[in-house]
Amino acid sequence: MSIVNVDSEGYLRVDSTLLRLIKLLLITSIFISISFAAISSRLFSVIRFESIIHEFDPWFNFRATKYLVNNSFYEFLNWFDDKTWYPLGRVTGGTLYPGLMVTSSIIFRIFEFIGMPIDIRNICVLLAPAFSSLTSLAMYLLTLEITSSSKNLKNKKTAALLSAIFMGITPGYISRSVAGSYDNEAIAITLLMVTFYLWVKSIHLGSIFYACLTSIFYFYMVSAWGGYVFITNIIPLHVFILLLMGRFDYKIYTSYTTWYSLGTLMSMQIPFVGFLPIRSNDHMASFGVFGLLQLVLFANYLKDTLNPLKFKKIMLAFSLLITIIGLSSLILATKFGLIAPWTGRFYSLWDTNYAKIHIPIIASVSEHQPTPWSSFFFDLNFMIWLFPVGVYFCFQDLTNESVFIIVYSVLGSYFAGVMVRLMLTLAPVVCVCASISLGRLFDIYLDFKDTLKIWYESESETATKETKEVDDDDEDVKDSIFTLLSKLTVVLTFIYYLYFYVQHCTWVTSNAYSSPSVVLASKNPDGSQLLIDDYREAYYWLRMNTKEDAKIMAWWDYGYQIGGMADRTTFVDNNTWNNTHIATVGKAMSVNENKSEIIMRQLGVDYVLVIFGGLIGYSGDDINKFLWMVRISEGIWPEDVNERSYFTDKGEYRIDDMATSTMKESLMYKMSYYKFADAYGTSDPIDRVRQQRMSSKYAHSITLDTLEEAFTSENWIVRIYKLKDLDNFGRDLISIGENERKNLSKRNKRMISRKKPNLDLRV
């Protein structure tokens, strides 16, 4: 028997094993290319720059990973870091999500075991791209599972593969998973998708096995990212909605109770989470649904045994009682402090202005800002308008699985609208929905069977009998041509959209998301690339040329980088656990030299580091962040620091001659513009970021007495000052400086006056 046959009706018959093989081969190669696309589009930063850890938080993760690799796991869990939050220190082992570090150290150990001692930095840098290819695989499975019982969608695998490629290259996900952005999200999104897939699968099958797997991956997720709360709430919500829809069955019961009990127990093993699952309000929903399921089960049992009237009465009484008991116990427990109060980050999820008013430290992070509309298109491209269509199709199916997608899409869209960085959790569901709608579309418009059939028939008919009913056949063929044309139009349009999507993703990735932000790229006048490497220059200077126990004061943004690159002790860092400490540093920066010196001496500061972009026009500098320092310290010391006094009477934020005296006297201002005028000689210095011109005379009068310039990087981006030692004679450093200046100006005058007679003599 040959592989390909022509049967009696003239159809081509292909052996099913061969077909299956071809299919397998196709799917495998598609997956390989998806992985390739997902990984390679994340490598822009490595190719453009180098294999380097990006931004801020990844530097901490990297440092923690190095600690884990060099010490044992238990030492890591008990790690007390005395190099941060001086003099408080940080119980690092108990205040981090260890999933990421453990993952990369396991990968490191495996590679070491098989004789490939790869540098831990390279593993950390490439972890996110590697996991992104796994994410697209998980997306494929998730979409396949969601559409598995859908009656409307025919080519389920097409949709699933589409969702995989969408997920692989969507900028919304790439933004957090380029090579080098070694952050919790790098693995968390993968885990999120796997957990969701397993959850949908377990609810579909009612399988304890899959529910166990769900809880294991839930545990992994808890260990990796604080965003696990998203799962903790979305799964109960899904179940709750299914209950409201009257979809209760034992499959749901089995899956949910298994997941909840195992998952909660396991999640409590993470030191940072600890007893939160039974104390924090964030976890109450899952607990409530767990209880509710038991009640529903009990009610079901009663329904079977009692007569309907009695049942109704009992139900009413019970539900009233339970609502009252539940609510009052919740309120009481919150009141007595048994349950932790809602966190600020949680409030800011509901009220976008909450953080701005109450917790400036959260609002000061750019990724916590509300999302602008344009970024939806920027991050999701054409999927953003396919997304509602997909949700509509889910409503059409309304299987248990598609209800999950509906719940996810509603929650995801809301959260993505509140915070820029939660775009990340929206991206997967958008990919699923877009792929479902595209799958439906392609089901219809890529189906040329009818047209081909009509053509074939008419051809064979014209070939055999030319006489009969030619007109009728012509009509058919004409119709089919129009159908074909319209189908082709739609298909071609969407192929163009797909093409455009890929192009857009590549463009966005390469232009917006591939900068390490530690190294800045600029252009030389001749167009060649110029790297501005000031951060590393200054951090490395600190590492090489300061005492090993030197304490460096900088704004908290740079804490992790100083810890990671300069290896020196910091006061505050990006783990913003102590608002007062941050406010103290903020106050030291925002008050005048006199007051600031007292704070700095009390803190034990050796060096102060500021970021200044005024010389080359780098806008992310400390003067632009200065208002946040002022605001945060005002929150603690409203009598010493007042935001209004940093603005001119007209309400302008000025740094030139017109700046307010509070501004001019503040330490941050002085540190930024100290000797700035000298770089311009006698002409007026211009701040290129704020586009303000200072008069040369004024700019030359900016002085610093308590600090001494220790280092300034090549483009002045990083300026490091050393706190001067106390005067041996117990004099005030500021008055010494003033005296010196007075003497100097006297001497200058004398020199000028001496010059004149000299000239006269020569004449």
Partner: protein
Amino acid sequence: MRSVSIYCILAYLLVAVSALTPEKVWENVRYDRTLDLQKSYAKERHVITAKNIAAVPISEYYFSIPAQSLKDISLFIAFSGSSKDDSSLLQADEIVVPQGESDSDLTYYKLQLPYPIAPKSQITLTASYITTKQLSPLPKKADMGAEQTLIVQTHKLPLSCYDTSSYVLRVAGADSAQELPLEVPQGFTSQDLKPTVKDSTLLYGPYSSVIESYTKLPMALLYSKQLPLPVVHSLKRDFWVSHWSSALQLEEYYELTNAAVALNKGFSRVDWMSGRYHMRQNPVLTNIPIRLPEVETSEIYFTDKVGNVSTSLILDKELILKPRYPIFGDWNYNFTIGWTNKLADFVKSSDDVHILKVPLLDGLTDATYENVSLSIRLPEGSKIIDVQVPFDHNGMTIEQDFSYLDLTTGHTKVTLEFNNLVDEMKGLEVLVKYEYGTFDMLKKPLSTAGYVFVALIALYALRKVDIAIQPPKAVESNVLSNKK
């Protein structure tokens, strides 16, 4: 390590037993001494014509140097004759004079003469050595752009244990030197022995009056030098030999400090920018030229502990490193450089025996190296036959080390430790003779392939294991439906 220290103690005991004050059996008829200060360390060259004034033939000459500078002596070479061409190297044994002896601030090299010198005959000897850490800036701190002055302390007259009848001291590289007034011993006045400048060298003498043995006239020279004094505290040099890719990779890790004059205030970028210091000589390290091997060199890189440094330049056969920041006096900069060469340029092979010849040092053009650890990593399975080093090392270890795909015994790693080297030893070479056959070469890919095969088979076998709780009915029905 332990055996080494035991030998040290033994040697010390032996020497202590035989400790002696050399007898005055020679007279230095002519003593020409040159102190070369052109580099960042001091080089001395003593050309001595000695006459046997004893009654018997003598075959040893004791050359004395100050005891405290013995540990800083980088390389001591003595030969007979006055130039290297018509000469033979002399064996020079260090003699440690134990504490408490009369002249304990002197130590000696016993030079074994090529033949015993008859009474009243003469011989010309040359002793040349390099002393590190002799130059230091004075004042230690200065403003940016201020002129750097270095101080070197030495003795103006020969420290010989024999009388000297004619003596000349030349100081090269310090023509504008200034002598610091020091307390002079009795019998001298500070006005004694004024130098003259000739051909940009400082010339003391010639003195034709007899200088008695053990005469000490300390002198301190202050001279201006506008160059950095690079000191490499630690250099790790790793050669990776790969026969499969026929490549020799070198990776060097430097811990560099500039021993020149330090800044007396913080570093002011504005002053640095406006001073245009890169236009003229100054004691700041702004770029580090590294000589590349004469043969084809590829994959050159320059990194430090925070990543790649993009500011390096390759000019012809020279790699010019620009550190992240200018290295002022007392500033440190640790960095790593590396490159790849073709193995054939460094290895000579006959059958399974190979001889690898690598330079002792590449790197900086003018620098002192305190600790150098040179290791050569030979492929897995190679056996070392012989290691040849041009001069004494401080310890050699041969160990097995595990690295890329070393799954069986690990590769062979030879580590040589050196102390107190200077860049002038760049030409010296280390030879390693080792055996590495075709079978050893094939062993690695075969064993790797074997492991992969075992892993795949294990995976296949695991997939065959049925862990389903359900009875395998469903599978059968599937098969049936397929058959339909």
